[in-house]
């Protein structure tokens, strides 16, 4: 690994000052599970790592009436096992439980994972169907960005040099909302998905409302499958309609050929898993 300066600020203000001062040459460091691997592979060569480990106030989970706030330094394992999160959105606990292994989930943080922006990660599509937002803070001020607008390309986000992702804000799901996350794992249980699909539907009698479908490992970013959503929105849920709607995902994904499958295969599997996820959400059998 290359040499670098390791900073351990003890306040958010101090961390933001360091990030501003060193700009493109600085990387915030949380659990390090992604960053250390990238540095070992010489894919990241930042001259300054700004450790967030001693910055107070970033590792809390707080539930309010309408929103859940998850601090950027909360570990994956702590989301998975949090009674507060389970009471608010049990779907989120179940998604985090599917990330890698317990050993990785003990170190990897919520904010670090989102900022890393690997399109194969599990939490981003879950946050997309939950209509979650992230808070980005810098010395110049702060802004709140929907997770669906966070990612711009492979490992790229709208987060600017000097900005820090400090929390995720999850709106309370409607009482009628049903969720599913299906992860296609043909190799091992702890692998990244070949494709993965998160889905949410709010039921108004037989009618589907506020449909959300998002995919991981299906393109350069996590993808909202808006064509699938629109095909179901306001319609009565039937297996035939779900089958037709799921077909729409084929034109929305842009997967790569790799050792987890060809692009054509992943496109086909995106359709299959989108259909299965929606069937599960709607309690339908094919």
């Amino acid at each position: 690994m290359h040499d670098f300066q390791f900073h351990t600020p003890s306040s958010l203000e101090e961390a933001l000052t360091l990030l501003e001062e060193y700009g493109e040459d600085a990387r915030p460091m949380a659990g390090g599970t992604a960053l250390v691997v990238l540095m070992k592979q010489s894919l990241v060569s930042a001259g300054h790592l700004v450790s967030l480990a001693r910055v107070p106030g970033l590792d809390a989970i707080q539930a309010e009436d309408h929103e859940l706030h998850i601090g950027a330094l909360v570990r994956h394992r702590d989301v998975e096992t949090s009674p507060l999160v389970r009471g608010f959105a049990p779907f989120l606990c179940d998604v985090y439980r599917q990330v890698a292994t317990v050993r990785i989930r003990n170190m990897a943080t919520v904010g670090g994972g989102l900022a890393h922006a690997d399109p194969a990660q599990d939490p981003p599509p879950a946050y997309m169907v939950l209509d979650a937002r992230v808070r980005l803070v810098s010395r110049a001020g702060e802004r709140v960005v929907p997770v669906r607008e966070l990612f711009t390309d492979y490992y790229e986000t709208v987060i600017q040099p000097g900005e820090l992702l400090t929390e995720v804000i999850v709106p309370r799901p409607a009482p009628t909302a049903m969720f599913a996350y299906l992860k296609f794992l043909p190799r091992t249980e702890d692998d990244y998905a070949t494709v993965a699909v998160a889905a949410k539907v709010e039921r108004d009698g037989a009618i589907c409302r506020n449909v959300r479908v998002a995919l991981a490992a299906a393109g350069p970013t996590p993808i909202r499958a808006t064509a699938v959503e629109q095909a179901l929105e306001g319609q009565p849920a039937t297996p035939a309609l779900v089958r037709d709607a799921a077909e729409q995902v084929a034109d929305q994904v842009d997967p790569l050929d790799d050792f987890r499958g060809s692009a054509a295969y992943k496109r086909d599997m995106a359709v299959v898993f989108t259909r299965r996820a929606l069937m599960r959400v709607l309690g339908l059998s094919s």
Binding site: D3, G32, K40, S51, R103, I104, N106, E189
Partner: protein, 159 residues
Amino acid sequence: MVTTTLHTVRVTVNGVPREATVPVYRTLVDFLRYDLGLTGTKEACSVGVCGACTVLLNGRPVASCITLAVQADGAEITTIEGLADGERLHPLQQAFIECGGFQCGICTPGQIVAAKALLDANPHPTDDEIKEWMMGNLCRCTGYYQILDAIKRAAEVRG
């Protein structure tokens, strides 16, 4: 000129305060092995996937190959060397011997340390709970069923 930034890292390993001044990029597994001489922890995949380098950081299993030593500054660490009580083996170590829970042995320190964290958190895990917890600890000699047997036996012995 190549410069190397040095940091003094202070940790408590297996109950004993230790410190060393190391390059900033030193991984925790290298710090344990080369700076502190605790060679029980093994490195295999080097990217956090195989589990051979598992140690407990403040009681929780982590991959020491993708953790920097500077990240562990001030922490309590448990390695395989910290399990036995003098000449008396930890129940997990004894059970791994009795059940044939290893062949070549490279993955064993990580297996046993991960299993210790499981039994500390959940003294009587079900088979499914053991499999879920241990799935990130790979054994290329494929001794998985004996490892499962060993963890169950240790749980019985510990009561």
